[in-house]
Amino acid sequence: MASVSETHPANRSNPARWLVVAVPYVWLLLFFAAPFLIIVKISLSETAIALPPYTPLFKGFGAIGEFVSQLDFDNYLFLTGDPLYIEAYLSSLRIAVISTFLLLLIGYPMALAMARAPTTLRPTLVMLVILPFWTSFLIRVYAWIGILKPDGLLTLLLQSLGLLGADDQVQIFRTDYAVFIGIVYSYLPFMVLPLYSALEKMDNTLLEAASDLGCPPWKAFWKITFPLSLPGVIAGSMICFIPITGEFVIPDLLGGADTLMIGKTLWTEFFGNRDWPLASAVAVILLVMLVVPIVIFQNQQKKVA
């Protein structure tokens, strides 16, 4: 009788109960809040040629006044002043928006076909969607190099089909197109699954009712199916959009020198330039940018629950 013990006053102050509640909060504090604060702190310090390569900010509790006076917003000023970073942010957002749109375009019909498939077939289809996870993400992206490179499988295929001359090659490797292909391929399951779960829940008699009331099927899709799948559309889009914005591996392996993404910039600042404070500032701004979609996503999840 859980409901009884919950209202029982003697149990309300039970320390064991608090412990259970505290565990996830302690976890979040230790592994999310604390590292994030450290990043913020680093971003507010100056670059130093040392190990680690930044001036320590916090030297005991007695130095709080000193701490505040030493806070250094130079990194943020530098970031906003340099068009390279602004362009990297904008380019990341552009790639994430386009990719998410492409994912929706490809993922929605897939999810719809799965949801309309015979009930006995559906588990198999879901299985097929998550099957790629059985192979390492990195290996799958490397496989795309093999497909997309100028003398790769795609060129060979098109040549053997006669669509491409023997001396011609597909020139999309190390371009933004390759990045889009890689991103759409990698994130497709994350788009399809939330869409599928939203569409699968839908009552089919709603479409019969629409048809009965004079609404042809293509119109019923926009009037009934799509609005009712919106929670899935939003969930899928956010689950894809947020990590794509910070994506590093795919643009690094498939993109060209001119593929500008903030994840790559971040990596260069950390490991190439060893400018940890600036890199931290880049990360903090990225996070702030993503707070908006995250909040939208959370609100949507709350509505669904």
């Binding site: 709603l206 019969e208 048809s211 009965d212 609404c215 042809p216």
Partner: protein, 385 residues
């Protein structure tokens, strides 16, 4: 001067008029799903302004028949005529029928108002006209105050009304009702049944209702088709179905009935009285006044409704026929009626129902009493099927 009671309620029976043209005609309809035959070579006529029920147990094909009329299923064989026109191949969104779904199928993302307006919007009616019609419908189902609510903010009964309003908004030629009141409790169901009848008369529409609830079918319908395993067992008015079922199946499906298996002992010609039959039901002599095609020796059943059986502790004057003697085995007190289960010497049970006309808590007949059950010659009937 006598007070006017309004127009006289006219007797409505177009099916008895041979010149009447059926509004809907199912012509030799067969529907198979794989190797299962849901509807088997069925022919049925429904007339304009009729309130028609398809009644039967689940899986008898009644819903399939309705879905074929709505256009959700196509018949495997045969054709459906609406006002004389074959509607095979016409998609549901072009048929002049509207359906009220068993699950109501209200659009959860739209308000009550939007749900009702949905069908009208598909016809591209002017905005003002849609608004007027929606208002009319809300008034009809008494939901004016709930226009802006979403379906999940309504009670079951209110949702059912929205579903009804939505299916009526387009003023369809035929309204199809699929188990419309199944989800409502008994009181609300009865109320709604009468409301449905009022609405049907008021709007002058043809209603086709699918139900497994025989009381509901009896209450609302002009005619009932009793179905079993994809075929129609009997089509008749509620009174005919109840008083003159044509088979053991219909007799047993509608209401409570005693069925005694027997053989014809003597027919009208032998008895010298027109329309009289004598049946021997394993020792019980039964005399029935009924035109009957059966001949001597035929296996038949004698059926009689419990409320037509009289129960008495006293021996009747004539015990040669239509009288049995037994022990009161069980009593079901229903308030308005008491049902007595009387066990005969050979173990057969015969039920007799008695209206509780006087306010007595202790009934004169009780458990273990030996009683006589009697019935007049015109109370029961012979079933040959």
């Amino acid at each position: 001067m006598a007070k006017s009671l309004g127009p006289v309620k006219r007797k409505f029976s177009p099916w008895t008029d041979p010149s009447a043209v059926p509004f809907i005609r199912f012509e030799n309809i067969t529907k198979r799903f794989g190797d299962f035959t849901a509807v088997d070579n069925l022919t049925l006529d429904i007339y304009e302004r009729e309130f028609f029920s398809l009644l039967g147990p689940s899986g008898c094909g009644k819903t399939t028949l309705m879905r074929m009329l709505a256009g959700f299923e196509e018949p495997t064989e045969g054709r459906i005529l609406l006002q004389g026109k074959d509607i095979s191949g016409v998609p549901p969104y072009r048929r002049p029928t509207n359906m009220m779904f068993q699950s109501y199928a209200l659009f959860p993302h739209m308000t009550v108002e939007k749900n009702i307006a949905f069908g009208l919007e598909q016809d591209n009616l002017p905005k003002g006209e849609i608004a007027t019609r929606v208002e009319e419908m809300l008034k009809l189902v008494k939901l004016e105050r709930f226009a802006k609510r979403k379906p999940n903010q309504l009670s079951g009964g209110q949702r059912q009304r929205v579903a009804l309003a939505r299916s009526l908004a387009k003023r369809p030629k035929v309204l199809l009702l699929d188990e419309p009141l199944g989800a409502l409790d008994k009181k609300l169901r009865e109320e709604t049944q009468f409301e449905l009848m009022d609405i049907q008369t008021e709007l002058g529409l043809t209603f086709l209702i699918v139900t497994h609830d025989q009381e509901e079918a009896m209450t609302v319908s002009d005619r009932i088709a009793v179905m079993d395993k994809g075929i129609i067992m009997q089509v008749a008015t509620p009174a005919e179905i109840y008083e003159a079922p044509n088979s053991r199946y219909v007799a047993d499906f509608i209401g409570d009935i005693n069925i005694l298996e027997g053989t014809i002992a003597a027919t009208a010609s032998a008895l010298g009285a027109p329309g009289a039959v004598r049946i021997d039901c394993d020792g019980i002599a039964v005399s029935v006044e009924q035109e009957c095609q059966a001949v001597k020796g035929d296996k038949v059943a004698f059926a009689i409704r419990p409320e037509k059986v009289r129960i008495s502790p006293d021996q009747p004057a004539d015990t040669s026929a239509n009288a049995v003697y037994g022990e009161v085995w069980d009593i079901g007190y229903l308030g308005d009626f008491s049902v007595f289960l009387v066990k005969l010497a050979d173990g057969r049970i015969v039920r007799a129902a008695q209206a509780n006309v006087s306010r007595l808590v202790d009934r004169p007949i009780t458990f273990g009493d030996m009683v006589w059950l009697t019935w007049p010659v015109d109370a029961g009937l012979v079933l040959t099927r």
